[in-house]
């Protein structure tokens, strides 16, 4: 029995982090579905939901004005969700420059703010963005070109995490993110990615279904709704957004919110777990559900290994202990000089995932 638990746990972990990427590599080689991009200038509504974004609002708005896209085809909408730091005062400067501002004096959350923003959108394409990240000048043009393919319903851009030298981050979070992006690129080539980057993703206006107000991950719920509707949710690495790399502690807060949203996703959209309803069932199970199982598998693996301390099993046990010792040392390293290594997670305050 103990051996069954050991091997089941080990297999699950190995599949999620190694087997699934290998499966995707083989799958893509056999069944790649190219996207037929064609540059066009559809009308676009760029929707940004903001709560307290005083430090980001000016840079975000200036970035919107610098985009390489015809001004008469680009509507910028800022949906304010009861800001208390003066974001609403700052945004008034931009309202006179053509930015549409929707203001809620009551805190309702990002999903409701997006619904309000979309309600005033006039574009054929809805482009969603967060306040902090900056778009590459050509990002909108690149995203829109993908909608020339009638099978494409959602396009996510690529979020690049930059270090202090404006190079793609090579730290642990950067490496983790690059691993994620490779998975998504392969999933996109095969059919669809189970989710998008909240920092930059676009959909057709007629595909939008109002979000439930309690929705945590709009950037997963919206693309997955589109996939269930029969269209593709792809990633286009040519459409880039930039963000600063976070230290692991800050990334933890963001990740916690995302993973809470994943639990909510399966409760809101149980059809994702039905193979004949979900065209990317394997991807959802492997990428989303698998990640939710791994920590429990890690615990089961360690405990079962305690009862199997001989031969090969002893080697695995030593490797596990070494891994946890390194992780502990990494924690000490990351806390050196920091007051709070792992910030308390405040619900609803984090940036969105990806």
């Amino acid at each position: 029995m103990v051996e069954v638990i050991f091997w089941t746990s080990l297999s699950c972990i190995a599949y999620v982090y190694a087997g699934y990427p290998l499966l995707l590599m083989a799958w893509r080689r056999l069944a790649r579905r190219p996207v037929h991009k064609r540059y066009q200038e559809l009308s676009v509504s760029l929707v940004v939901a903001m709560h307290n974004e005083k430090k980001n609002v000016r840079a975000k708005m200036e970035n919107c004005f610098e985009l390489d896209y015809p001004a008469d085809k680009l509507q910028v909408i800022v949906s304010l969700d009861a800001p208390t730091d003066g974001t609403d005062a700052l945004i008034c400067d931009y309202a006179v420059r053509g930015v549409d501002v929707v203001h809620s004096p009551v805190r309702r959350g990002k999903a409701a703010a997006l619904n309000s923003g979309v309600a005033v959108a006039t574009g054929e394409i809805l482009l969603f963005a967060d306040a902090r990240q900056r778009f590459d000048k050509s990002a909108v043009r690149e995203l829109v070109a993908n909608f020339a393919d009638e099978f494409v319903g959602s396009v996510s851009g690529e979020l690049l995490l930059l270090d202090e030298e404006a190079q793609e981050a090579s730290d642990a979070v950067g490496a983790y993110w690059r691993y994620e992006k490779r998975l998504r690129a392969m999933e996109s080539d095969i059919h669809s990615v189970p989710g998008a980057s909240g920092a930059i993703y676009a959909i057709r206006r007629d595909s939008f279904v109002a979000l439930r107000p309690e929705t945590i991950l709009d950037d997963v719920v919206i693309p997955m709704g589109i996939v269930l509707g029969g269209k593709r949710a792809i990633v286009d690495p040519a459409a880039r957004a930039y963000d600063a790399s976070q230290d692991p502690g800050l990334e933890y807060g963001r990740k916690t919110r995302t993973l809470t949203g994943n639990y909510q996703l399966f409760s809101q959209m149980p059809e994702l777990l039905v193979p004949w309803r979900n065209p990317i069932f394997v991807q959802v199970i492997s990428h989303k559900l698998g990640r939710l199982l791994v920590p429990y598998c890690l615990v089961a693996l360690l405990i079962s290994n305690l009862f199997l301390l001989h031969g090969f099993y002893f080697g695995v046990f030593v490797c596990q202990i070494l891994w946890y010792v390194l992780a502990g040392a990494g924690w000490l390293l990351s806390t050196r000089g920091a007051e709070s290594p792992v910030p308390q997670f405040e619900f609803g305050q984090g940036e969105k995932e990806i």
């Binding site: 304010l80 609403d88 008034c92 309202a95 501002v101 929707v102 203001h103 809620s104 004096p105 009551v106 805190r107 309702r108 959350g109 999903a111 409701a112 309000s116 005033v120 090579s170 730290d171 642990a172 979070v173 490496a175 983790y176 107000p213 309690e214 945590i216 692991p248 502690g249 990334e251 933890y252 990740k255 916690t256 919110r257 995302t258 993973l259 809470t260 949203g261 994943n262 639990y263 909510q264 990640r291 939710l292 791994v294 920590p295 890690l298 891994w323 946890y324 390194l326 992780a327 502990g328 040392a329 990494g330 924690w331 390293l333 990351s334 792992v342 997670f345 619900f347 609803g348």
Partner: protein, 44 residues
Amino acid sequence: MNIFRKALLVPYTFMLMNWAVVAGFYYFTRGHRDFWNAPNTRRA
């Protein structure tokens, strides 16, 4: 970033991301979504 530092931060980040799964489950089961209030929107 040197190799030694990365060798320590990779397992730490991996464990932190997995701990986030457990924390996420805790938040989900505790229903930490109740800050969403009734809509009340006006156009500026």
